[in-house]
């Protein structure tokens, strides 16, 4: 499943996701009639307006073993908040079988290494709130007694040459928040700029995330501030398409 904004703005992320899954031996199909998961409407409270889009999603994806998307935010919606569509075995199947790309690689394929990938750079990894608190891909800073783990991080650690930079407040929200980015633009941009400042202090120039929507927002802030970060989706690095 290719999220609408990746389809539109970041086709290279969709391509990297597809190629990576193919390299790993998955039988991948791209249902042609897909649009969006319905999150923009549902997150705004507009359940009725989300219904037809969610039902279209169910129709498009109910026949597959797994639905893999390079977007924690969409997966969080489909798995945990997919209530606008009428309840049906198909809807439940879709919610149960959807996986964020890092989850699919880490939990389902249990990938041991990415021999084709090399990234001789220091990178800052931004894991989205949806991936952390919605999908449990990483230990949460609010629960300091839980042992630390991070699925996206453990995947990146398998990439030759790549080093990870630690920064403060690692799991504070970047300020995107979907419609929030537009409705509350002043606070949203302030959060984005604060995040960039903390990332920037590490000296790393590459920011990598499993959520391109966070990066679209951060990239927008950085570009406006004329900061020279490069923003890449996890899939581009793991696929070896970014070096």
């Amino acid at each position: 499943m290719i999220p609408c904004y990746i389809d539109m703005f970041y086709p290279e992320v969709g391509i990297a996701t597809l190629e990576l899954l193919e390299k790993l031996g998955a039988d991948v199909d791209y249902p042609f009639d897909q649009t969006c998961c319905g999150q923009p409407m549902a997150n705004s409270g507009a359940q009725a307006e989300a219904q037809a889009t969610e039902e279209l999603f169910v129709n498009n994806f109910a026949a597959y073993d797994y639905i893999v998307a390079p977007s924690g935010s969409c997966v969080h919606h489909i798995r945990n908040k997919f209530t606008a569509a009428a309840d049906s075995p198909e809807r439940r199947h879709v919610s149960a079988r959807v996986r964020d790309l890092p989850e699919f690689l880490h939990d389902v394929l249990k990938v041991k290494d990415f021999p084709w990938a090399e990234f001789p750079h220091e990178v800052a990894l931004h894991v989205s709130c949806s991936a952390i608190r919605g999908l449990g891909e990483q230990a949460m800073s609010e629960r300091p007694n839980d042992p630390f783990f991070s699925k996206p991080r453990s995947l990146l650690e398998k990439v030759k040459g790549l080093t990870l930079a630690d920064f403060s407040r690692p799991d504070e929200c970047c300020g995107f928040g979907g419609t929030f980015a537009v409705t509350d633009e002043a606070v949203s941009a302030s959060m984005g700029n604060d995040k960039l400042e903390r990332l920037g202090r590490t000296g790393a120039r590459y920011v990598i995330s499993g959520d391109m929507s966070c990066l679209m927002h951060l990239q927008g802030c950085a570009h406006r501030n004329r900061e020279d970060f490069r923003f890449l989706h996890l899939a581009q690095v793991l696929n070896g398409s970014a070096r």
Partner: protein
């Protein structure tokens, strides 16, 4: 009343007071960090949260029984218990007690409930002089401002702000912003008022059914002074503050200060169990919408709240908006889910001042599902017809486009870059809200869909695309 515009208020805070915003964020995030450190010291922290949540669930589902037990014990201790259905009844009861004793001056410790009831203006217009004895609350009172934070009402002010205010009000040394000095100035001016007061008042952190005692938790000891110095003591208690007994109290005491400020315990944990010798003690139990909320399947868990403000401290939106931006007694995440319950029209925009990042629910010591309730409140606003016409229309358009593949392809592949910029949600907000502080992503030569059709699409023809210029919102297959 006009809806509170948190967005505009927050923008003003950010843009007019960048120095305050930074200081506020740093101070409040520091509380969150101290909270984490305190929680790390308690290996059973998560179990403790679960236990606290269950105690609250149990108590709230047996509320009438515990309230009656409390009334019985408190009465046996020599206190008088009053029942107030709403804010007005509460204020009237307090006023009547004061009038019956010919009391004209009242000193009080911090109480969110009396803020909620707007008690101070009620009493002041009736000739009662009310003095706040909590340092932060007094700073706000002297500046004619409501609290900006549940635990630290004046957290939005810097020490320099307070120095300036005290210089203006009390004639303290100009520019002397040493907090110890400022606390002394306050003490010098407040102590005589406490000593001379006709009546004293406290709120309640807990009301213990087993003992009939009202329990307050403070660092300044001002609740003890306010409650014990004058002979007449009034305690205002929201009915959800009831807990069964002292064993349960111990659970909350372990959680409250750690969650709020990262301290293991506050300086004072005071049990007001009955009147002091020769005095009187009145307890006013206040509903003010609580039983109504308790009956609501979706929103009752917010009644578990123990007012620690951990959700405020962790909230990135709150820390950058300032507490006053919410125009509400309860601000930040807990305010987003409790204020609309009190007045859905006035606070209809509040549930949208969140990124739904979920951190608030994780820090909540009583496990309120705050971010899920924020999400649910958004649905209520739509269902109650409280969306603006433009927002509703934008949602309808987005829903129509995104549920029709051909219409969506037309939008995604339109040559007009403006249309490609987040078309489904940018349309209803202020012009170019994305672009005030951010650049838009550059548009690639082709979409993923087009790439796939070109490179892998041999099995199927690409979806048919309507002609350029056709309004996708009106495409009805």
């Amino acid at each position: 009343m006009k809806p509170v515009d948190q967005v505009r208020n927050a923008q003003a805070f950010l843009e007019d007071q960048p120095h305050h915003e930074q200081a506020f964020d740093t101070l409040i995030w520091g509380l969150r960090e101290r909270r984490d450190a305190a929680a790390r010291e308690v290996p059973e922290w998560e179990d403790l949260r679960t236990l606290a949540s269950r105690i609250k669930e149990h108590t709230l589902s047996h509320l009438a029984d515990y309230l009656e037990q409390f009334e019985e014990r408190a009465t046996a201790n020599g206190a008088r218990v009053h029942w107030a259905r709403d804010a007005h009844e509460h204020n009237q009861i307090v006023y009547d007690i004061l009038t019956a004793h010919r009391a004209h001056t009242l000193v009080k410790s911090k109480s969110m409930l009396t803020e909620e009831c707007q008690m101070r203006p009620f009493l002041e217009t009736r000739g009662i002089q009310v003095t706040e004895t909590d340092l932060g609350e007094r700073i706000q009172q002297l500046d004619h401002q409501p609290p900006a934070h549940i635990v630290g009402p004046a957290f939005q002010k810097t020490a320099q702000d307070v120095a300036e205010e005290f210089h203006r009000v009390y004639g303290s040394d100009r520019g002397r912003a040493d907090p110890v000095y400022l606390a002394h100035v306050m003490r010098e001016h407040t102590r005589p008022l406490i000593l001379a007061a006709d009546a004293g008042m406290t709120g309640a952190n807990f009301a213990v059914a087993q003992t009939g005692a009202v329990v307050t938790v403070t660092n300044e000891g001002n609740a003890d002074l306010s409650g014990n110095v004058p002979g007449l003591r009034i305690c205002s208690v929201g009915i959800e503050k009831i807990i069964p007994g002292l064993a349960e109290l111990a659970v909350f005491i372990r959680l409250l200060a750690r969650s709020a400020t990262g301290e293991r315990i506050t300086q004072y944990t005071s049990h007001f169990a009955g009147p002091r010798a020769g005095g009187e003690m009145h307890v006013v139990l206040v509903d003010n919408g609580r039983t109504q909320r308790l009956a609501d399947e979706r929103f009752w868990p917010s009644l578990k709240c123990i007012r620690c403000a951990a959700c405020l401290n962790t909230c990135p939106v709150y820390r950058r908006s300032g507490g006053l931006a919410y125009g509400a007694t309860y601000m930040g995440p807990i305010g987003l889910i409790t204020m609309p319950a009190a007045d859905v029209r006035r606070f209809r925009e509040l549930p949208f001042s969140s990124t739904l990042n979920g951190s608030c629910s994780n820090v909540c010591p009583v496990q309120i599902n705050i971010h899920e309730q924020i999400y649910a409140w958004r649905e209520v606003m739509d269902a109650d017809g409280l969306f603006s016409v433009t927002k509703k229309a934008a949602m309808k358009t987005a829903g129509a486009v995104l549920s029709h593949p051909r219409a969506w392809r037309a939008v995604a592949e339109a040559g007009d870059a403006a249309l490609r910029v987040l078309p489904h949600f940018a349309v209803y907000s202020r012009i170019n809200a994305w672009g005030r502080h951010r650049d838009v992503p550059s548009t690639p030569k082709e979409t993923f869909h087009q790439w796939y059709a070109r490179n892998r699409g041999d099995a199927r023809p690409p979806a048919q695309t309507p002609a350029q210029g056709e309004d996708p919102g009106h495409d009805r297959p």
